[in-house]
């Protein structure tokens, strides 16, 4: 298995995974979307809310705010050994504001300085003159498969690596015009696609269809995948991929354990 990173920024990642099966690539994709543990607000104790939003609407907005935390130190509430709640399974954050003011996710005061909303500028509600908001939010660890509030990977996807080959090109240039991505160029021995541009190919086959002498074959390498990963901010893109791999490893370790004690 090989990984070639094309882009790795805080929230975006693009990489080519090669020498891997479709099953593994899809497993990784699904783990990023659904199996990565994150922290999100699940309960809200409202002491005062005179804003224009109902309590439930406010709760929904709060729950969808991504929270940055070290989830290795936290456990989901169902798995925690405590009776009701403890610092390992529950994080409390308070929010108190009085209008006129726009309340932002950055206004939260967290009980743990390491745990805070990953974006400070998410508008929660606009308070008009005299309106008040006072609440305590309780955040718990969960997984994207249960609710979108815990979904750390956004629209993570992959496509198989395109392989477009040209044989005995007669330089008619019709494929160059047909390509919707404008990646076909005229080289010394006929039409060609640069290696970097190949990533852009969508396997639309327009070039093969328009070629009068069937000189173009459009194929895909089913052992190589171009991944596009986006994080919601609760993890960096790099951490998200690591966490997804960890989640896969945990699952297979669990399977191994079951088989050993069979």
């Amino acid at each position: 298995m090989k990984i070639e990173v094309l882009e790795m920024s805080d929230r975006f990642a693009k990489f080519v995974l090669s020498d891997a099966s479709i099953a593994f690539a899809n497993g990784l994709r699904r783990a990023m979307l659904a199996e990565v543990p994150t922290l999100a607000i699940t309960e809200v104790n409202l002491y005062n809310n005179t804003s224009v939003l109902y309590d439930e609407q406010l709760g929904l907005r709060l729950s969808l705010i991504p929270i940055k935390a070290n989830t290795d130190e936290l456990v989901p509430k169902e798995e925690c050994m405590c009776d009701d709640n403890c610092p390992a399974c529950e994080v409390s954050m308070t929010l108190s504001a009085e209008g006129p003011k726009m309340v932002y996710s950055g206004d939260f005061v967290s009980s743990d300085p390491e745990i805070f909303p990953s974006d400070e500028n998410i508008p929660i509600v606009e308070l008009k003159d005299g309106q008040q908001l006072f609440l305590e939010a309780l955040a718990h660890v969960g997984h994207g498969k249960n609710h979108s509030r815990w979904q750390a990977g956004i629209a993570c996807g992959y496509k198989t690596y395109p392989v477009v080959t040209f044989h005995n090109c007669d330089k008619c240039r019709s494929c160059i015009e047909a390509c919707p991505k404008d990646i076909i160029q005229m080289g010394p021995s006929g039409a060609e696609i640069q290696d970097n541009d190949m990533l852009e190919c969508t396997l639309c086959r327009s070039c093969a269809d328009v070629c009068g002498i069937n000189a173009i074959t459009v194929d895909q390498d089913e052992r190589a995948f171009i991944f596009n990963v986006e994080s919601d901010g609760s993890y960096s893109a790099e951490e998200l991929i690591q966490q997804a791999s960890k989640a896969l490893k945990k699952k297979s370790d669990g399977m191994l354990e079951v088989l050993e004690h069979f």
Partner: protein, 62 residues
């Protein structure tokens, strides 16, 4: 209020809303702003483009 996340893909969009709104008022065209903010998928773009702020409409009745 702008939804915190996109309904379709779950991407956070509310953190880009105020910059988007400001730059639209300043006369920039919305497609270049969205490209600039890396709101690339059309599900997220429609969240921004079609949003109507209703707080000021409702507030007098509270």
């Amino acid at each position: 209020m702008i939804p915190v996340r996109c309904f379709s893909c779950g991407g956070v969009i509310a953190n880009k809303w105020e910059e988007f709104k400001r730059r639209v008022y300043e006369g920039e065209s919305s497609d270049t702003i969205l490209d600039d903010l890396r709101v690339t998928r059309y599900c997220c773009r429609r969240m921004m483009l079609s949003h109507v702020e209703l707080v000021d409409t409702i507030a007098p009745y509270y």
